[in-house]
C-alpha cells in the first residue's frame, strides 16, 4: 500500500507546470527560463532544471543593521539546496525571508524579489500566512507542541488553521508519519505526548507536521544540530527521500552533511552569496578562493 501524499504522477505534473508556465511572462525583466540559464555566481554548464524559487537582490536585516546585502540565487525544484557559511553570515535570515518568517521578528525588514509560484512573495497580493502553507519550515531545535499528542502534532497545521475534515485525519497522520520515516516507531502510541519521543524522533515528528500541510518547499534550519550522529543519519536519509516530492533548502554547519545530502550548495559570507554550484563541485573545485578557504577550514 503506497501512502505517499504525492504520487509520482502528481509530482511529474507539478514539475511540468513549473517547466512550462511557472512565471508571468510580462513581469519586469527576465523570462523564467532565461533566468534559469542566467549565469549566477558559478557554473553555467549544468543541465537546466525547473526553478522553484528565484531570489533577486534580496536585502534584509534588523533595524538599522543590514544582514543580507543583495542576494540573488535560484533554488531548483526537487533538489536539496544546502546553505553553508560561518556563523552570523545570514543563513537563517535568508531562508526565513523565503517564507516571510523573517518579518515576525520586531524591527526586521526585507526587500527584494523572491519569485515563487508566479509571484514576488513580497508583493502586496501575497498573504504570508498562505505562503507559509506552501513553504514549510523545520527548526534547529525540535519543537513539537508540548500540550499535544503525537497524532495532534502531525495534524496541528490543519487543526490550527481549521482545515481538518475528520474523515481524512487518520490517512494524513499515517501518510505524513510514513513520509517522515517515523510511522513504525510510533504507530502504537499515537496518543502519547509528542514530547515523550527522543530528540531525533521529535525532529522527524516536526518534519511530519510540516509535510501534513502539503507544502511544495521545505526549509530546514540546521535540523540536526541538536541531534546525535545516529539520529542525524536518519534525518539525512529522510532528506534524500524527500527530494522526490519536495524542494528542500537546508542550512547546515556541517560540511560533510552538505556534501552527503545536497545537490547544490550555496556559500554565504557576511551577508553575500559567494557562490552556488553543484555540491560535488563546490567541495572539489570551488571557484572562489574564499569558498576554498572556508571549506578547507582556514576560517569560520
Amino acid at each position: 500500500m503506497n501512502m505517499n501524499l504525492n504520487t509520482p504522477t502528481e509530482t511529474e505534473q507539478r514539475m511540468d507546470v513549473y517547466a512550462s508556465s511557472g512565471y508571468p511572462e510580462s513581469d519586469d525583466h527576465l523570462d523564467a527560463r532565461d533566468r534559469m540559464r542566467t549565469p549566477l555566481t558559478g557554473d553555467t554548464d549544468e543541465e537546466p532544471r525547473p526553478t522553484e524559487i528565484s531570489v533577486r537582490g534580496l536585502r534584509a536585516g534588523y533595524g538599522t543593521k543590514e544582514v543580507l546585502k543583495g542576494v540573488s540565487m535560484d533554488i531548483h525544484a526537487n533538489e536539496v539546496t544546502a546553505i553553508i557559511g560561518p556563523s552570523g553570515c545570514g543563513k537563517s535570515t535568508f531562508i526565513r525571508c523565503i517564507n516571510r518568517m523573517h518579518e515576525l521578528v520586531p524591527s526586521a525588514y526585507a526587500k527584494g524579489d523572491v519569485q515563487f509560484a508566479g509571484n514576488n512573495v513580497y508583493s502586496s497580493s501575497v498573504d504570508p500566512v498562505l505562503l507559509r502553507r506552501k513553504i514549510g519550515m523545520v527548526f534547529q531545535k525540535p519543537n513539537p507542541f508540548p500540550t499535544m499528542s503525537i497524532r495532534q502534532n502531525v495534524l496541528a497545521g490543519l487543526t490550527l488553521t481549521g482545515r481538518l475534515s475528520g474523515s481524512e485525519a487518520n490517512t494524513i497522520v499515517e501518510s505524513s508519519l510514513k513520509e517522515a520515516a517515523l510511522w513504525d516507531e510510533v504507530k502504537d502510541k499515537l496518543d502519547e505526548p509528542g514530547m515523550s519521543l527522543s530528540g531525533g524522533q521529535q525532529q522527524r515528528l516536526c518534519i511530519a507536521r510540516t509535510i501534513a500541510v502539503k507544502p511544495d518547499v521545505i526549509l530546514m534550519d540546521e535540523p540536526c544540530s541538536a541531534l546525535d550522529p545516529v539520529a542525524t543519519a536518519r534525518i539525512e536519509d529522510l532528506i534524500a527521500k524527500l527530494r522526490a516530492d519536495y524542494t528542500v533548502v537546508i542550512v547546515t554547519h556541517n560540511m560533510q552533511q552538505a556534501a552527503r545530502c545536497s545537490d547544490r550548495t550555496a556559500f554565504f559570507l557576511m551577508g553575500e552569496l559567494v557562490e552556488i554550484t553543484n555540491t560535488d563541485r563546490i567541495f572539489t573545485a570551488p571557484k572562489d578562493t574564499r569558498t576554498e578557504d572556508y571549506i578547507t577550514g582556514k576560517f569560520g
Partner: protein
C-alpha cells in the same frame, strides 16, 4: 573566627526572617481568632437567610452575600475577557504589523508602537490609582452617563475597571513566558496571528493569567469605597434578581453594622466578617483548583 562570624550572621538573618513571617501571620491569626470568637455564635441559618432589620437578633446577611457573589461573577466576566484581550493585543499584535517599506507601512509601525507605549504607561499608572477614584469614575460613567443607575451592573463594571490594570499586567507576564519557538512553529505551519494567539499562546498562558486574575478579583470583593461611591444601598430588604437591580454587598453590610452603637450589631459585624472571609477563601480555592486542573491538562 571569620567563619564563626558569618554563621552568627546567618543565624541572625534567619531569625529576622522568621520574625518577619511570624509577626504578620500572628497578628492575622489573632485578628481572625478574635473575630471568630465574637461572631461564630451568631452564625446560623437564620443569619445567613435573613434580611437586615432594626433588631440585631433578626438581622441577616443574605442580600449582602448574594450581592457580593453576583458582583464577583460580573467583575470576572467583564475584567478577564477585556484584560486578556488587551494583554494579547499588547504582546502579540502591537508593533508587529507589516514589513513594508512604504511610507504608509512605516507610519503604521510608528503609530502602532507609540500607541502601545502610551497604553503601557497608562496601564501601569492605573494600577496605582486609589479605589475611591474608580468609584467616582464609575459613578460618572456607568451610573450617570451610560444610565445604568445604582445597579449591580454598574457595580460590577466599576470593580472590573478597578481590577483591569492588574489583570492586564498579570496576563502580559503570563503571555511573555510562552516560548517563542512554539509561536514560530505555529506560524511556520501557516497559522494566522489570531490562530496562534488563540490556540498556542492562550492555552499555555492560561494558568498564569488565572492566578493573576484570581488575586486581583479577590481583592475586589473586599473593596467598599468604590461601591459606596456609586451608591450601593446599606439597607436592602430583597435579593437582587437582575443586573439592573439595586444591591448591597458584604463589606457594606459589615461597615453598616460596625458603625451602629449597639453591642449586638458588633456581633453581627463579626459574623459578617466570617462570611466574607469564607466567601473569599472559597472563591480562591475554586479558582486555584480550576487552574491546577488546567495546568495538568496542558502538561
Amino acid at each position: 573566627m571569620q567563619e564563626k562570624r558569618s554563621t552568627w550572621r546567618e543565624t541572625l538573618f534567619r531569625n529576622a526572617c522568621l520574625v518577619a513571617v511570624v509577626i504578620p501571620l500572628g497578628l492575622l491569626a489573632l485578628l481572625i481568632g478574635d473575630v471568630v470568637a465574637d461572631g461564630i455564635g451568631r452564625l446560623n441559618g437564620q443569619f445567613l437567610s435573613s434580611y437586615p432589620s432594626r433588631f440585631a437578633s433578626r438581622a441577616g446577611i443574605l442580600p449582602g452575600l448574594v450581592g457580593s457573589i453576583m458582583l464577583v461573577v460580573l467583575t470576572a466576566s467583564l475584567a478577564i475577557p477585556i484584560g486578556v484581550g488587551a494583554a494579547l493585543y499588547l504582546e502579540e499584535y502591537a508593533g508587529q504589523e507589516t514589513v513594508g517599506d512604504s511610507l504608509a507601512a512605516r507610519a503604521a509601525r510608528v503609530w502602532d508602537r507609540y500607541f502601545a507605549t502610551v497604553i503601557e504607561i497608562n496601564v501601569a499608572n492605573l494600577a496605582g490609582v486609589p479605589s475611591v477614584i474608580y468609584g467616582l469614575l464609575g459613578l460618572q460613567i456607568f451610573v450617570r452617563v451610560v444610565g445604568m443607575g445604582r445597579s449591580l451592573l454598574a457595580g460590577g463594571a466599576t470593580l472590573a475597571l478597578l481590577v483591569l490594570p492588574v489583570v492586564i499586567i498579570a496576563s502580559r507576564e503570563a503571555i511573555r513566558t510562552v516560548p517563542r519557538h512554539l509561536r514560530e512553529a505555529a506560524y511556520g505551519l501557516g497559522a494566522t496571528r489570531w490562530q496562534v494567539s488563540r490556540r498556542i499562546v492562550l492555552p499555555s498562558a492560561a494558568p498564569g493569567i488565572l492566578t493573576g486574575a484570581i488575586l486581583a478579583i479577590s481583592r475586589a470583593i473586599g473593596e467598599t469605597a468604590p461601591i459606596i461611591v456609586i451608591g450601593a444601598l446599606t439597607y436592602v430588604t430583597f435579593v437582587p434578581n437582575n443586573l439592573s437591580s439595586e444591591f448591597t454587598a458584604l463589606p457594606i453590610q459589615i461597615f453598616n453594622w460596625v458603625s451602629r452603637p449597639q453591642e449586638e450589631f458588633a456581633v453581627n459585624a463579626a459574623a459578617g466578617i466570617i462570611v466574607l472571609l469564607v466567601t473569599v477563601f472559597s472563591l480562591n480555592l475554586i479558582a486555584v483548583l480550576l487552574r491546577n486542573r488546567l495546568e495538568r491538562r496542558l502538561r
